[in-house]
Homo-oligomer: 159 residues x 2
Amino acid sequence: MTRSTDLHTLLGDLVQANSRLVRIAAQATGSTESSATWRTLRVLQQSGPLRVGELAALSRVAQPTMTKIVAGLADRGWVERIADPDDARAAQIVVTPAGATAVDGWVEELTSALHPYFADLTVDELDALRRTVALLQERVELNDPATTDKSTRTKELSH
Amino acid sequence: MTRSTDLHTLLGDLVQANSRLVRIAAQATGSTESSATWRTLRVLQQSGPLRVGELAALSRVAQPTMTKIVAGLADRGWVERIADPDDARAAQIVVTPAGATAVDGWVEELTSALHPYFADLTVDELDALRRTVALLQERVELNDPATTDKSTRTKELSH
DNA sequence: TGATTTAGATAGTTCGGCTATGTAAACTAT
DNA sequence: ATAGTTTACATAGCCGAACTATCTAAATCA
């Protein structure tokens, strides 16, 4: 049905399907905490301690947005600010053990909720899904946004 | 390859990658209109005229949320309410030509923004991506929640 | 030292999500 | 036929997450 040359259509469909997947996940978990919370914790978990500005850039949100998210996380005891001895303006944000437990629990809840939708995949389908996730991670996950120029990504981003 | 335990991880990674993709798309387009707007218009385009309640269910949001979204769309002239002669409580929501133009433009903008990230896919990668999108659509797109029997999904949407 | 740049916090707005509840139409049962 | 119930949607009110603009304070530089 989709033409092989129609990458545009494919990407549009991908985003739409993703959008629906996120809605399903949101409803299925019934989590009172919201997506930005978990997104931020996962970035922190995978990248280690970061400053607010770095975290904002990696998460692709504006700095004041991240300031608020971090404030919320700190309120819940899920992150801590470690003062930077060399720069009194900044602090490293680190995930606490409680934060790690919370995010792990949420991932478990989320994946359990989605599992029924994907429990009966064939081997081929699973393979395609696995390769696509790897692909998306390679292209999209924790890579620097355009503002932080890396010569290895100049080509893609300047297009 | 320890498939069933892998699936959990895979789904978690999928959602996270999706979440990042959506952030990239949001920033790349610089669209002032927001995702719920386009999501709703696309659902309407693909399903034809719907009542607010049907639209909310298909979009997996609460009915008052959809009431607000539809009000915003109507303000912009992108949808219209067609009174139902048989039920004075309800109206069919239809996309106007202006709405169709707007959503098409946004999809074009979005996919153009994402294109550089995926322009250099190999044939195999493209194939995996295409099959995954088809898979996601089958599981997730415009279908009822998991409680609905799979064999009867996809039917009750047309008209 | 004084000026500039940088990191982050505040202020203020908008939007999209939710629940609870109101209202009027449609249905149902007597 | 009407009273009560159910249904469809709107309204009200809350909150989180996103944005821009601006402020403060620290670091850096001339």
